[in-house]
């Protein structure tokens, strides 16, 4: 197969220089580096090219609904006739053979259930091991559960996975192009999996990662509880970087963004620590198509100075007509860990918004309160502070549920 010579992958803004050290020239064929764990590094766009070069446009890559096969016997004769002609052409057989194939290989040949049989019911005399296992499981559920329905987490997970399937954009300009690549991006702590398009910039992914540390509000507010601070950490500390394959991609969109990776680079260069040369780049100049990455290999996303998340690209594939086709919905969240929110200690109903330390009123340190209970307990009707305590606004990680 042709080994792609990359030339200069498109990376606007930079002077065309890409990471020179990494993946050996043009070998962009994903192969295991550590078996079953991760691949060696390859260039995403080149990988896409390798696939697109091997597939036919309308047949494999198109995002329109595929034509349904003409059923044997049903449908107009002309439909089946032209289909037979296509079959005969592709397979190199005669028209009669093609018609025969259509009959022999029809879907009706695979029917195992009679008319009227419910696909939900396991048939009685079955040899299949899988069904045996399932039957036992169902019986167990019948015996032990009063109400058999999916639990909240399961419904939530299923909804996340499928909520965007098949969504078409209203504005056709938002339509994904054929041959676009979809990367599956898994982040740890908080566990979430996002689908991101190859043509999207790294900054778009950065913006869509919800981390609770972004919402933290710094400062002690026991004396001024009403002063709801406008500035959350996300607005104050805008720096962030991604680390992929020896390059730190820093967010430099705003003037206050700093290069967080400089510390690391300086540290690594100060002594011979055994790491290769690190590079820096601007996050906003790169799309996912421009990257060299290993599938299945852990990389890093760092923001707020020291809040670090391990990120793994779990999968790359070509877009399919059943996927969500609305560009604006990407990066798309498809899997999220359900986090139990911390409730107010007093009412046990609302999510905690305040946390106190050294609180004479509180039975434990630290103690969590919702807004109403907090004010009721710690302030009198005029709003004067009662007792001694330190109070901080609290953002629960489960806020994103």
């Amino acid at each position: 197969m042709a080994e792609d010579s990359l030339g200069d992958p498109a990376c606007g803004g930079m002077d065309g220089r890409q990471d020179p050290v990494l993946s050996s020239g043009g070998f962009n064929f994903p192969e295991y580096e550590l078996p079953e764990l991760n691949t060696h590094a390859f260039h995403v766009a080149a990988f896409g090219e390798l696939w697109r070069g091997r597939l036919r446009g309308e047949g494999d890559l198109s995002l329109k609904e595929p034509p349904a096969p003409a059923l044997p016997g049903a449908g107009g004769v002309s439909d089946s006739g032209s289909e037979d002609a296509a079959v005969a052409r592709d397979l190199g057989c005669s028209l009669e053979t093609a018609a025969e194939l259509r009959a022999v290989c029809g879907l009706d040949k695979l029917k195992c259930l009679q008319e009227g049989e419910d696909p939900e019911v396991i048939p009685e005399n079955t040899d299949l091991v899988t069904l045996g296992v399932r039957k036992r499981l169902l019986k167990h559920r019948e015996e032990t559960l009063t109400i058999d329905r999916p639990c909240r987490q399961e419904t939530f997970a299923y909804e996340m996975e499928s909520h965007a399937i098949g969504k078409k954009p209203e504005n056709s300009a938002d339509m994904i192009e054929e041959g676009e690549l979809i990367l599956s991006h898994k982040e740890h702590k908080p566990y979430q999996t996002m689908l991101v398009l190859g043509s999207q910039k790294l900054t778009e992914l950065r913006d869509s990662i919800c981390c609770v540390s972004d919402l933290q509000i710094g400062g002690e507010f026991s004396n001024t509880p009403d002063q709801a601070p406008e500035n959350i950490s996300k607005d104050l500390y805008k720096s962030a970087f991604f680390y992929f394959e020896g390059t730190f991609y820093n967010d430099k969109r705003y003037p206050e963004c700093r290069d967080l990776s400089r510390t690391i680079i300086e540290w690594s260069e100060s002594h011979d620590r055994g790491y290769g040369k690190f590079h820096t780049a601007k996050m906003e100049d790169f799309t996912f198509n421009d990257l060299y990455i290993k599938v299945g290999f852990p990389y890093l996303y760092c923001h707020q100075g020291d809040c670090e998340h391990v990120v793994v690209i779990t999968d790359i594939r070509l877009v399919h007509h059943d996927d969500c086709l609305d560009k604006t919905l990407y990066p798309l969240l498809i899997k999220k860990h359900w986090l139990w929110t911390r409730k107010c200690f007093v009412c046990k109903m609302f999510t905690a918004r305040w946390v106190t330390n050294n609180d004479s009123f509180a039975p434990q340190d630290p103690c969590f309160f919702c807004d109403v209970c907090f004010r009721m307990l710690h302030y009198d009707a005029e709003g004067n502070k009662l007792g001694e305590f330190l109070a901080y606004p609290y953002v629960d990680p489960g806020t994103f549920n």
């Binding site: 197969m1 764990l37 990988f47 195992c112 259930l113 999916p150 599938v295 290999f297 779990t314 059943d322």
Partner: protein, 371 residues
């Protein structure tokens, strides 16, 4: 989860019955499919999420059998199985079959083979799957998330679905034979040309046997025939004790794989033996085959002259005799009494198991007194 083990058993049950039918026709497959009611594998009130996961697993299990090193028949069976599973699944929208880039070329080659061999139903099925856009074109076959903690499940290759490991046939393919014939003819012609007497080449140029090429051909054909004979009777035996033998073998395969790999390492260390000069022939180092338990010699020597193939641990010899599995025993190992054609050679001592090149045989042949 229990379902994945169950899936593997069911797929293998279906595929081994298909293999026994000795046919690659879709009609035969659908007969089996309907008799096993395989389409009901999705029944049973699975909730949505479970349905998705199970279907994905089912497609992945079936997919494994579609790629090499499985035999042609198994691969066609796997294709039919994929078609069946894809179309009988209950998920809406349908779960897709993942294809990795590295496998796609192999698959296209397979498709071309099907068309060339005029297995139109299989080719039609594949074409149908492709038109229905049943595939997801991915980087790697499964999602990778660097899970170091979970024990990596060793994907065991079901031995009886594989072609027996025939190193002889792998080396002496028909291309090689043809080329050898051409070279031989060319060589003969050259000899004629450069000799003084145009009709008879010089006696001094008689360095090889003239009928050497025919000999090779005959030996290879004999070998092929032996292979076929060995395969066929076991098929009938399979029908009887089919299931328990499959199970026994899969259990043994893991043990044997390990034993085999140990033996391979050993043999590699010991098999490289220097050919002693003629004066020291009496002190030629021989590789020891007396240990029939674990001795496995993989050699790359003069395959043309004998059927030297890999030995398998004797532990399996019982089952292999019954099932005629992929075991090609070393002919020198007389303790394993299989019905193997023994090609007698004279100069056995000199044929030590050095990893000789292609050119070495020419030198040895000089020593043979008769063919």
């Amino acid at each position: 989860m229990g379902s994945s083990a169950g899936l593997k058993d069911d797929c293998e049950a279906l595929l081994s019955r298909f293999q026994e039918m000795d046919s690659v026709r879709f009609e035969d497959f659908t007969e089996l499919w309907r008799s096993m009611k395989f389409g009901t594998i999705f029944c049973g009130r699975m909730r949505n999420l479970e349905k998705n996961t199970f279907t994905k697993e089912a497609l992945t299990s079936a997919w494994r059998y579609f790629l090499p090193p499985y035999t042609f028949q198994i691969r066609v069976g796997a294709l039919y199985l994929l078609y069946g599973l894809y179309n009988t699944q209950l998920c809406q929208p349908k779960q897709k079959i993942r294809v990795a880039l590295k496998d796609w070329d192999e698959i296209l080659k397979f498709q071309q083979d099907l068309i060339n061999a005029q297995h139109f139903d299989a080719a039609y099925i594949f074409r149908r799957l492709r038109l229905d856009r049943a595939f997801h074109f991915t980087a790697m076959p499964k999602l990778l998330s660097y899970r170091m903690k979970k024990k990596m499940q060793r994907t065991e290759i079901t031995e009886e679905f594989k072609d027996p490991n025939d190193r002889v046939m792998k080396l002496i393919t028909s291309d090689v034979l043809e080329e050898m014939m051409n070279v031989h003819d060319h060589y003969q012609r050259m000899k004629h040309v450069i000799s003084a007497d145009k009709s008879n080449p010089e006696k001094s140029l008689n360095l090889i046997k003239d009928d050497f090429f025919d000999n090779i051909k005959n030996i290879v054909l004999e070998h092929q025939q032996w292979h076929k004979d060995r395969k066929n009777p076991p098929l009938k035996l399979k029908v009887k004790g089919g299931e328990e033998k499959i199970e026994r073998n899969s259990q043994q395969s893991e043990r044997c794989e390990r034993a085999e790999s140990l033996a391979k390492i050993k043999s590699k260390a010991f098999s490289v033996v220097v050919q002693a000069s003629k004066s020291r022939r009496h002190r030629q180092v021989k590789v020891d085959f007396s240990d029939s338990e674990s001795s496995q010699v993989q050699t790359k020597t003069t395959r043309k002259r004998r059927n030297k193939e890999t030995l398998k641990p004797a532990g399996r010899k019982v089952s292999s005799r019954d099932r005629g599995d992929m075991q090609n025993l070393h002919k020198e190992d007389k303790s394993l009494s299989l019905s193997m054609p023994v090609v007698t050679e004279e100069d056995e001592e000199n044929e030590s198991f050095s990893e000789t090149e292609f050119t070495a045989p020419k030198r040895r042949r000089k020593q043979r007194t008769k063919s």
